[in-house]
Amino acid sequence: MAERTTVVASQSGLHARPAAVFVKAAAEQPAKVTIRKPDGEPVDASSILSLMTLGVEQGDEVILAAEGDRAEEALDTLIALLETDLDAE
């Protein structure tokens, strides 16, 4: 299982539009991806509701884990999204 840590860049955290963009990208990955806060339980990264209940704000640290096909590639894509300020687009 591949795992990586990053800091969320979007101004509104993982709410609304940034959350939708992230979830869509996660659902497109062949690997199964989870996301968690350092002190929390991992949740399905392709579930917008699960992601929303994490309540991730800008500057929060999150840990992504991927298992299965092209897991590293999936993490590259998703980490890049998290490190972009999606609200600024």
Partner: protein
């Protein structure tokens, strides 16, 4: 009940659930009902009732085939998602994004995981989705703020799925296949987003009062509307001997397909009107229209005293519609739409563009912009005001701006930038000002930002009583009668039951408007600042306007002018009647009307006394 009824074919059997005795159906055609007319105009058309959400039955049996039930739930969720996406395609970008996000929630794998578990535990399908959604909602509400609001969206998805599973009508405003009269218990802001005057002939609500959301929206769109039909005493049908509650009787009468004639000015409704009623009402509406169209241009009394007639607007779309109307500008531009339902505050750039679009629509006309009026009842994800026991008395309006100064400074910066790039005569005012010090604090900031005409809303009785000192800090005042009535009478605006106390005709409310105008007058003539004043009243008094439902009542408008108000701002559809009322009366008559209204015992007596002083030609406006 979706059966169509027409004419006297009303099926008596179907009413028996709510009306026990007699044959209400047979006695129905021609029956007159009364409510509170809140948006003028006459319409005749069939009822479409807004269905209320259906709850899953308590005694729902377990699914015989859990796998099939799971599939049915998945299919219902997908139907809801597809419908949300279809609606997203019909609306503007911002609303489409919200609807798209809700569709995504409906397709979320965690909901199906939740229902699968419950179905195999023996829970029925409708209860399974209900419990699965509620579980997520509790987690969202625990996060709070923006997420907690999304719980409302998710419960709406739940209501739609449950309706599909139980084969019940979809809650909310139905798709109108033909122009119809929309009947609802009451309308929430979310219900009204897609209302169009081309398909909604008229709106009738059982609850609600003159300042309810329904009333404001209908007036804004120019849709005839009657509210509070179940609260107004109706003539008891002989058949039920008055034993049936108002609400139940209205529910039984106003079912889908029943044709109604609606007069949004008088509040009259006729069930299954005959040809003579239809003709008479249509003629009456035409005559009223004709009478109003004789007057146009800037508002003035019969003897030529100018009274600016302005529009209230709440969105950029409103601005386009209002700019095309015969108004002298905008007296109240509510800016909340830029801030609500979003996770982060709008940038200065975004605000500047929006303000510029609004200002340009009005050319060189006057536009009064109210700075953000948010608070615990209109919460913002990025400026939380916390849980408050009494949001109306809490950190809202200017008080919120004082807590998060950058919000206000960004708004003033954006507005000043837009003002520089347009020809419009831009005025800015702060909501919920209570003291001269607050007025001064706001004026300093607004002037520093580069705005020349700075004012305050008068909504707090304390500010009305000390208007002279408050106005000394600013250039103008605008009375918000809805909130002023709420605070003067200590009656919550949201409680339809207190509509009588909230009536802007309450003499105590009129007294406070008079006090505001008197303060402005004293400031112009009096000794408050002897160096500036010459004691002869030669200085022009700071203008006092009214924006609020009171300004759009043609009879009350005369009283306001008599009290000393120099501008009236209202939904654009209300302007013609107010203009006509002013044109038919001299200013002295308005002063006399104000005097009799203020000495009346209560709101009803005040109105009656003023109606007695109306020119005969103006009575039809009442």
């Amino acid at each position: 009940m979706l059966t169509r009824h027409s004419g006297s074919d009303l099926d008596v059997e179907e009413f028996d659930v709510t009306v026990q005795a007699g044959k209400p159906g047979a006695g129905t055609p021609g029956l007159a009902l009364h409510g509170i007319g809140v948006s003028a105009g006459v319409a005749v058309g069939p009822v479409v009732r807004m269905a209320e959400p259906v709850r899953p039955p308590d005694d729902e049996p377990a699914a015989l085939d859990p796998a099939a039930a799971q599939q049915a739930i998945a299919a219902a969720l997908e139907r809801v998602a597809v419908e949300l996406e279809r609606r997203a395609g019909l609306t503007d970008a911002a609303a489409a994004e919200i609807l798209g996000a809700i569709a995504m929630m409906a397709r979320d794998p965690s909901l199906l995981a939740g229902t699968e578990r419950r179905l195999s535990d023996g829970v029925g399908p409708a209860n399974a989705i209900d419990l699965a959604v509620e579980e997520v909602c509790v987690s969202l509400e625990a996060v709070g703020g923006y997420m907690a609001e999304r719980a409302t969206d998710l419960r709406d998805v739940r209501d739609r799925v449950v309706a599909h599973l139980l084969d019940a009508p979809q809650p909310g405003i139905p798709d109108l296949e033909r122009p119809s009269v929309l009947v609802a218990h009451d309308l929430a802001p979310a219900d009204t987003a897609g209302l169009s005057p081309s398909t909604v002939l008229a709106i009738i609500t059982e609850a609600g009062g003159p300042t309810s959301h329904t009333a404001i929206l209908a007036a804004q769109l120019g849709i005839p509307a009657v509210v509070g039909v179940a609260r107004v005493e109706q003539p008891a049908a002989a058949s039920d001997g008055g034993k049936v509650s108002g609400e139940d009787r209205i529910r039984a009468l106003l079912v889908d397909g029943v044709v109604l004639a609606v007069d949004g000015a008088s509040g009259e409704i006729v069930v299954e009107p005959d040809e003579s009623v239809r003709e008479g009402w249509t003629r009456r509406a035409g005559e009223r229209q004709e009478r109003l169209s004789r007057f146009s241009g800037p508002g003035q009394t019969r003897d030529g005293a100018p009274v600016a007639l302005l529009a209230n607007i709440g969105t950029a779309d409103d601005a386009q519609a209002a700019a095309a109307a015969d108004v002298e500008g905008v007296g109240l531009f509510r800016t909340e739409f830029l801030y609500l339902d979003r996770p982060a505050a709008p940038t200065v750039q975004e605000q500047t563009e929006t303000y510029l679009a609004v200002l340009r629509a009005f050319g060189s006309r006057k536009v009064v912009v109210r700075t953000l009026d948010a608070g615990a009842d209109k919460p913002l994800a990025f400026a939380p005001s916390g849980d408050e026991e009494n949001p109306a008395l809490g950190v809202r309006g200017l008080r919120l701006a004082q807590r998060t100064e950058s919000l206000l400074d960004d708004q003033l910066t954006a507005l000043a930038a837009a003002a520089r790039q347009s020809e419009a005569d831009v005025w800015v005012m702060a909501p919920m000002v209570a003291t001269p010090a607050e007025a001064g604090w706001f004026a300093t900031r607004a002037r520093q930002a580069g705005l020349a005409n700075v004012g305050v809303m008068i909504e707090v009785p304390g500010a009305a009583l000390r208007a002279e000192q408050v106005l000394a800090e600013v250039d103008f005042a605008s009375v918000g009668t809805n909130d002023l009535a709420q605070y003067t009478m200590a009656a919550d605006r949201m409680l339809g039951e207190l509509a009588t106390l909230l009536d802007p005709w309450q003499p105590a409310v009129l007294d406070l408007i008079a006090a505001t105008c008197a303060g402005a007058q004293r400031l112009a003539t009096g000794p408050l600042d002897t160096e500036e004043g010459d004691g002869n009243g030669s200085r022009t008094a700071r203008p006092v306007g009214v924006c609020g439902e009171a300004a759009g009542d043609p009879i009350l408008a005369l009283v306001l002018v008599g009290l000393g108000v120099s501008s009236l701002s209202m939904a654009p559809a209300k302007v013609p009647a107010v203009r006509a009322a002013l044109a038919l009366h001299d200013r002295d008559r308005c002063v006399q009307m104000a005097a009799v209204a203020r000495v009346a015992a209560d709101a009803a007596a005040a109105r009656a006394a003023v109606v007695d002083l109306l020119e005969p030609e103006a009575r039809a406006l009442a």
